[in-house]
């Protein structure tokens, strides 16, 4: 694993060079928020950003993604037969992604890359990407990555980790993909900045003061947590807006819809949300999650219990804090997670 120093005065020119081998995406400020955008010639990412409002999951799972096209014109060859929409699988570099968001892709990958089925749309997009992470020197008050399996300097899911050490970036290549990207930028000054990086890492980690407790989640019986008394309270203020699921880097649920104009149609998939009643509405009118407390419970149970039990490798949350910052009614996953983790019906003394 090579570690090099990129002097900030060589950053922009090197990044321009990478654009001949990669389509480059990076954080760009639009109005008051940052988001990931494709960077054209001369466009630079804002490497002093905090984090994007929406997670970069849309780079791999677009909010609307065509899967198939077809013709309803019976005069045409192959009418009513679906044709696959081919994806752009040319190399892409996602520059400046935060470690939590890169790690999130690996949690989501378990859903789309299974022994039985592989989702070609998700996997081909993911595999075409090189993730150039940017360590967090100044985490937010809502960050809790260190207790969600990650950390502000976490390398999981990254190909390169950049650390801003002031007048330069220390770049640690973690994979062959990472090596290729650094070579494409023409940066090669070897360095030993490990002392400096370690000091920044420790300083960043101590800035993260909020945390979740997850040690009991796996062993708590599902039905016990499902029937716990705190769901009504947790869901009371929820307006089922779906902001939490849309901004979440680890929420992957989607809908499949057909859309026709004239005789040509597409079958596409769109982000969906467990917060919406239509998500589970049967054709008969029956709905297993018809009221909001059931839907709020589903979101937390999925992330903090079902996923934990299914994959036995932690919660389906990377601690990015977006759902906490953006929730219009201040629902806090940290509080709910700790309630679930600490719930013991035997010790529960109900006020009633």
């Amino acid at each position: 694993m090579k570690v090099i120093t990129i002097d900030k005065k060589d950053w922009a020119s090197g990044l321009e060079k990478t654009k001949s081998a990669f389509q480059v995406f990076g954080p760009v400020k639009e109005k008051e928020w940052h988001s990931f955008k494709a960077l054209g010639p001369g466009e630079q990412p804002d490497m002093a950003y905090n984090n994007t409002r929406l997670s970069p999951k849309f780079l791999v799972e677009p909010q609307t993604d065509p899967m198939f096209t077809y013709s309803l014109d019976e005069a045409k060859e192959g009418h009513h037969i679906l044709k696959e929409v081919r994806k752009d699988i040319a190399p892409k570099a996602v520059v400046g992604i935060r470690p939590c968001d890169a790690a999130a892709f690996l949690l989501v990958k378990r859903n789309f890359d299974t022994p039985q089925y592989q989702d070609p749309y998700w996997l081909e997009a993911y595999n075409s990407m090189t993730f150039i992470g940017l360590a967090c020197n100044a985490p937010c008050s809502t960050c809790f990555c260190t207790s969600a399996g990650g950390g502000p300097f976490n390398e999981t899911g990254l190909d390169v980790l950049l650390v801003d050490v002031g007048d330069s970036f220390v770049a640690k290549s973690l994979t062959d993909k990472g090596d290729k990207w650094l070579s494409a930028g023409g940066w090669a000054s070897a360095t030993d900045a490990s002392g400096k990086v370690e000091a920044l890492k420790q300083a960043a980690e101590t800035k993260i003061t909020s945390n979740v407790r997850t040690d009991n989640l796996k062993t708590r019986p599902t039905t016990q947590l499902y029937d716990a008394p705190f769901w009504e309270d947790a869901a009371f203020s929820c307006i089922n807006c779906g902001t939490c699921t849309y901004s979440c880097p680890t929420c992957w649920c989607f809908d499949i819809q057909d859309e026709v104009r004239g005789t040509s149609g597409i079958r596409m998939r769109n982000w969906d949300s467990c917060m919406f009643p239509m998500f589970t509405l049967h054709g008969s009118g029956h709905n297993p999650r018809s009221v909001k407390v059931q839907r709020v419970r589903q979101r937390f149970m999925h992330k903090l219990k079902y996923y934990v039990e299914k994959y036995d490798d932690g919660i389906q949350c990377v601690g990015c804090g977006r759902c906490i910052r953006l929730c219009p009614v201040n629902i806090d996953i940290r509080k709910v997670c700790n309630q679930m983790n600490d719930y013991d019906p035997a010790a529960c003394v109900c006020p009633a």
Binding site: M67, Q116, Q118, D119, T222, H282, P288
Partner: protein
């Protein structure tokens, strides 16, 4: 990479209106590419996504048996956007089927056992597949006694009436057909709800007897206590669930019951399994 969302193109070969209310039709499909039939190798109890271009997909249990070759059959209740459009389609139209999906009834466990099939209403489709499968000359010896309790509101609401009559005449399957009520004076079978007929006709429980139940929630709700009373262990009661689905392969996230996806880990679960899961179905 194989695309699990891509349906096999099929042609509608035959459409049969099954019930007197005309809300249930059986569609017989033939694969446009004969090689696809082999790829669609299935077991009774599995389902498929029926794909109608311009409308979408619906998850429907496979009503034909794997022992029936050259076609696949699905009986579809007219309910929503896709099923309503499907009911307006004609023989010769091109559409798609995607699958087979889900886990099927546990045929490895059922081999050498007595099988009691309990069905109600239009939830008899994969049960029909199971009966045809077990009665196939190559398979009948693999199973001991087969009992079938099947009920509908009226005689005209029973599915597959010609086949039911043919099975009634056989001596290697015990049929207990029932209706909630009949105005037809020639009705020669049972009258009564499925739970009642189950209590009267189903064999007593033992470790070699398995019940497969498929039907509307109200039927299941009242049949389960009857089976409990007769001593059926919960791991000997097999049920098939339905939930809203899109992908059918455990990815889109909506059909979960606890950590299990009805589409991929189900739709078939034992009651013992369901007892440990939230009741979100």
């Amino acid at each position: 990479m194989q695309n699990p969302y891509l349906p096999y193109p099929v042609r509608i070969d035959e459409i049969i209106t099954e019930t007197e209310d005309k809300n249930l039709k059986t569609f017989k499909f033939v694969f446009l590419n004969p090689a696809d039939e082999e790829k669609f190798a299935y077991r009774a109890g599995q389902f498929a996504e029926l794909s109608v271009t311009g409308k979408g997909e619906i998850p429907i249990g496979i009503a034909s048996s794997p022992t029936e070759k050259g076609f696949v059959k699905f009986t579809v209740n007219r309910v929503g956007l896709v099923s309503t459009f499907l009911h307006s389609m004609k023989v010769g139209d091109i559409m798609g089927i995607r699958g087979p999906l889900g886990n099927s009834y546990p045929w490895d466990v059922l081999e050498g056992k007595n099988v009691v099939i309990i069905g109600g209403g239009f939830a008899f489709t994969t049960l029909r597949a199971s009966i045809v499968y077990m009665l196939d000359p190559a398979n009948r010896s693999k199973f001991k006694e087969i009992n079938v309790i099947y009920g509908a509101r009226t005689p005209g609401m029973l599915l597959y009436r010609d086949e039911l009559a043919a099975w009634e005449r056989r001596d290697d399957i015990k049929m207990h057909i029932t209706v909630d009520g009949a105005t037809d004076p020639d009705w020669k079978y049972n009258v009564g709800f499925v739970p009642t007929i189950t209590e009267q006709k189903a064999p007593q429980a033992d470790s070699d007897t398995y019940a497969i139940i498929c039907g509307p929630p109200i039927m299941i709700k009242f049949t389960q206590p009857v089976l409990d009373k007769m001593g059926y262990a919960h791991d000997h009661i097999i049920m098939s669930l339905e939930n809203r689905m899109k992908c059918g392969i455990g990815m889109c996230g909506r059909c979960n019951v606890g950590k299990e996806f009805v589409c991929k880990d189900g739709p078939v679960f034992t009651l013992a399994q369901l007892n440990t899961m939230p009741k979100e179905y």
